[in-house]
C-alpha cells in the first residue's frame, strides 16, 4: 500500500469515527481529551470546549466527536503556567493573566442581546478608534453595568467585507478592545468585560454597498445576565 492510499484510508477512518455520539458536559472548563489514552470504544466523551461555552444564540451544536480511543481521557491544557504574568488592568485586561486562562467572564449566564442593542458602536472604514459620536453610548453601557452588578458584558467586534479574513479578525478584536478600554476607563471592572471578534463573518447587512459596510463596522454589546455581583 503506498503512502497515498494509507493517507486516504486514514482520513476515511477519521470521518467514520466522527459520527460517534457525544454528550454535553456543562462544567466550567472541560479539558479537551488527551491523545493516546485508551478506553472502551463505546465510551461517550465530553466534546465540549475547553472554556465555558456561551449559553445561547451561539449557533453551536455539540462538538465533533473524535476517535474514542484517543479522546475519552482527560488531559490538562498544555500551557506553561509560568508564562505571562502581567497584572495591570489594561496590560492584561482580559482576565487571562496566567497561562491557563480559566473561564471567561459570564460563565453560563444567559445572553441578552436586546437591552444594549441601541448602544451598538459604529466605526470608520479600517479604523478602530472610537468616534466622539459614540462616546455617549459607551458611557450609557458603563452606567448600566454599574447599576447591574450581576451582569457581565461581551463586546463583539465586527468588520465590513473589504478587509481580508484574518486581518479583519484582528481589526474586529481591536475594535472590541477599544470599546472595552473605554468602559474600563469609565470605571467598569476589566474582569466583567470580555471581547470576541467575528471579523467579517457576521454582517448585519450582506449587501456589497457602502450603506451595508457602515452598518457592519460595529461593536455590539451582549449582556450575560446574572443575579449576583461578580468580583
Amino acid at each position: 500500500m503506498n503512502q497515498l492510499t494509507k493517507i486516504g484510508l486514514t482520513l476515511l477512518t477519521a470521518v467514520a469515527l466522527c459520527s460517534v455520539g457525544c454528550k454535553k458536559k456543562p462544567s466550567n472548563i472541560t479539558p479537551l481529551p488527551g491523545a493516546g489514552q485508551s478506553s472502551a470504544p463505546t465510551t461517550s466523551f465530553a466534546s465540549d470546549p475547553i472554556r465555558t461555552t456561551r449559553p445561547s444564540n451561539t449557533g453551536l451544536a455539540p462538538g465533533n466527536a473524535f476517535q474514542p480511543g484517543n479522546d475519552s481521557g482527560s488531559r490538562a491544557v498544555p500551557f506553561d503556567p509560568n508564562a505571562g504574568t502581567q497584572k495591570s488592568d489594561l496590560s492584561a485586561p482580559l482576565g487571562g493573566t496566567d497561562a491557563n486562562p480559566g473561564p471567561r467572564p459570564g460563565g453560563d449566564k444567559p445572553e441578552d442581546r436586546e437591552t444594549l442593542k441601541g448602544d451598538t458602536v459604529y466605526f470608520e472604514y479600517d479604523k478602530s478608534a472610537i468616534k466622539s459620536s459614540e462616546y455617549a453610548k459607551i458611557a450609557a453601557v458603563a452606567e448600566y453595568l454599574k447599576s447591574n452588578a450581576g451582569d457581565d458584558l461581551v463586546v463583539e467586534g465586527h468588520c465590513d467585507e473589504r478587509g481580508t479574513e484574518e486581518y479583519n479578525r484582528a481589526l474586529g478584536e481591536r475594535r472590541a478592545l477599544a470599546v472595552r478600554e473605554r468602559l474600563v476607563n469609565l470605571g467598569v471592572p476589566a474582569s466583567r468585560v470580555t471581547t470576541i471578534s467575528y471579523g467579517k463573518d457576521r454582517p448585519v447587512d450582506v449587501a456589497h454597498s457602502e450603506d451595508a459596510y457602515s452598518k457592519n463596522r460595529r461593536g455590539e454589546f451582549v449582556l450575560l445576565k446574572g443575579g449576583a455581583a461578580v468580583k
Partner: protein, 398 residues
C-alpha cells in the same frame, strides 16, 4: 525539432518501451530544487493515447506548472501512453533518439497514477518537484448563513486539485485559518467551538484534537515553523492583537510585537529564522519581518503598495506573495528582501506550493468563493474545479 521523428522512433520501439514496467513508489519530499520562478516560459507538450480521465488529470497537472497542451506537430515533448487499466507513459522529446523515460504505475486509482506520471514528467523536464500528489487544507463555508448572518464553516482537506475532499471538522461552528504542520498529517486551525476563537491542533491520523491557544480574546492565524517545533500566531491576551510564538503545543508563549497598531497573518521564512506578518504599526496595513527569536520589526519594502495582508513566503526563500486589500483584492509578489511588488491576479490569501512556483489562492466572494491556482511564471490562473461550496484560506502541505 520535428515531432515526426519522435513518432517514428515511437513506432520502432513502442513494444519494448511499454513492456518496461517501473513501479513507482516515490513520496512527496523531493529535495527542494531552487529555480527562479519568474524565468520559465510555457512548455508545449502533447498527450497521446490516454483515456479521458487520465488525460484530464494530466492536462490539469501539467497546465498549472507551465506546460501547454498542444495538438499534433507542435509539441517539444510528447507523452504516449495509456491505461489498461494501469497507467503507462513514455516521455519523448523532439530531436532525441531515446525516450526521456518510460514508466508504468501500479497501485491506487488511475487518477493517482496519472498524478504520479505528471509529477515524473514535471521533474524530468523542469527539475522541479511535482505537486500533483500534494494536498491542501481550506475553509469551506457550509450552506447558508446561520443566526446573526453567521457564516458557518468547516476545515477540509483535499488533493491539490480539489479531488477527494474530506471534512476534518464537523462542528457546525466556525472553523477557519487552517495550516499544516510541515511533514506531518497534522493541522492547526482556529475554531469558535467554545464560543470564542481558539487555536486547535488536530492529528489527521488519529483525529485527536488539542487546544494550542485558548486565551481570553483572540487566538488565531496559526503558522507552524518549517521544522515543526514552533507556532506563530495572533493573540490579544495582553490587550491588543499581537504576534506571538510558542512551542507547537502552545506552551511557553512569547510576545514578539508590541505596537500601537495590531498584527495579523504571520508566515515563516523557510530557514525558520524570520517571521513575516501584517501590522498597522505605521498606519495602513503593511508587511513587516521580525526575528523568530525576538527583536526589532523591520518594514518590508513593497514599492509603496499599501494595505498589504496575508504574506506567504515561498519555500525557496526568494519571494513573498501577499494580498493587497484596496478595493478589489489582488495577489502581489515581492522579493523576500523587499523591492517592487508586482500584481499577478485578482484574489486573496495566496499560499505557495512546495515547488515555489505555483500559488493557490481564493477568488470571488461569499457565498461563491473558489480556490484557484496561479502559475507564477506564466501568470496563468486555473480554478480548482472539483470543490463545491464557498472555499477560502487555502493552505498547501509543507
Amino acid at each position: 525539432m520535428s515531432p515526426v521523428r519522435c513518432r517514428s522512433w515511437f513506432h520502432r520501439s513502442i513494444a519494448a518501451v511499454l513492456s518496461a514496467l517501473v513501479v513507482l513508489q516515490s513520496a512527496v519530499g523531493e529535495e527542494n530544487i531552487l529555480i527562479d520562478a519568474k524565468t520559465q516560459g510555457t512548455i508545449p507538450i502533447r498527450l497521446v493515447g490516454f483515456p479521458r480521465e487520465v488525460e484530464d488529470t494530466l492536462t490539469f497537472d501539467l497546465s498549472v506548472v507551465g506546460f501547454e497542451i498542444v495538438g499534433p506537430g507542435k509539441g517539444q515533448y510528447e507523452v504516449r501512453g495509456g491505461a489498461d487499466p494501469e497507467v503507462k507513459g513514455v516521455l519523448l522529446e523532439a530531436g532525441l533518439n531515446q525516450p526521456r523515460f518510460s514508466r508504468a504505475y501500479t497501485g491506487g486509482s488511475s487518477r493517482s497514477q496519472a498524478h504520479a506520471l505528471a509529477d515524473d514528467i514535471v521533474k524530468e523536464i523542469t527539475k522541479l518537484p511535482g505537486i500533483a500528489r500534494t494536498r491542501i487544507a481550506y475553509r469551506s463555508v457550509s450552506g447558508a448563513r446561520g443566526s446573526h448572518n453567521q457564516l458557518l464553516s468547516e476545515i477540509y482537506v483535499a488533493d491539490y486539485d480539489g479531488a477527494n475532499a474530506v471534512a476534518i471538522t464537523q462542528d457546525r461552528s466556525v472553523a477557519v485559518a487552517p495550516t499544516w504542520v510541515p511533514g506531518r498529517l497534522q493541522l492547526l486551525y482556529t475554531s469558535y467551538l467554545s464560543g470564542y476563537p481558539d487555536i486547535y491542533s488536530q492529528d489527521l491520523t488519529t483525529s485527536a484534537r488539542l487546544p494550542v491557544a485558548h486565551f481570553n480574546g483572540l487566538n488565531t492565524s496559526a503558522a507552524v515553523s518549517p521544522n515543526g517545533t514552533h507556532v506563530a500566531m495572533i493573540l490579544s491576551r495582553t490587550g491588543n492583537p499581537s504576534l506571538w510564538v510558542a512551542n507547537l503545543d502552545g506552551s511557553n508563549p512569547r510576545q514578539l510585537t508590541r505596537t500601537s497598531g495590531y498584527e495579523a497573518s504571520p508566515c515563516w521564512s523557510p530557514d525558520g529564522r524570520t517571521i513575516c506578518f501584517t501590522s498597522t504599526a505605521e498606519g495602513k496595513a503593511a508587511l513587516f519581518t521580525v526575528p523568530a527569536s525576538g527583536g526589532a520589526m523591520t518594514k518590508l519594502k513593497t514599492g509603496g503598495i499599501l494595505n498589504c495582508t496575508e504574506p506567504d513566503w515561498s519555500p525557496d526563500g526568494k519571494w513573498i506573495a501577499f494580498t493587497r486589500a484596496a478595493g478589489e483584492f489582488k495577489i502581489y509578489i515581492v522579493p523576500a528582501s523587499g523591492g517592487t511588488a508586482e500584481e499577478y491576479s485578482a484574489g486573496e490569501d495566496p499560499c505557495w506550493a512546495p515547488n515555489s512556483r505555483t500559488i493557490i489562492f481564493t477568488r470571488g466572494r461569499d457565498p461563491s468563493r473558489r480556490l484557484s491556482l496561479l502559475d507564477v511564471p506564466t501568470r496563468r490562473v486555473k480554478d480548482v474545479t472539483r470543490i463545491s461550496g464557498s472555499c477560502s484560506q487555502p493552505s498547501w502541505t509543507k
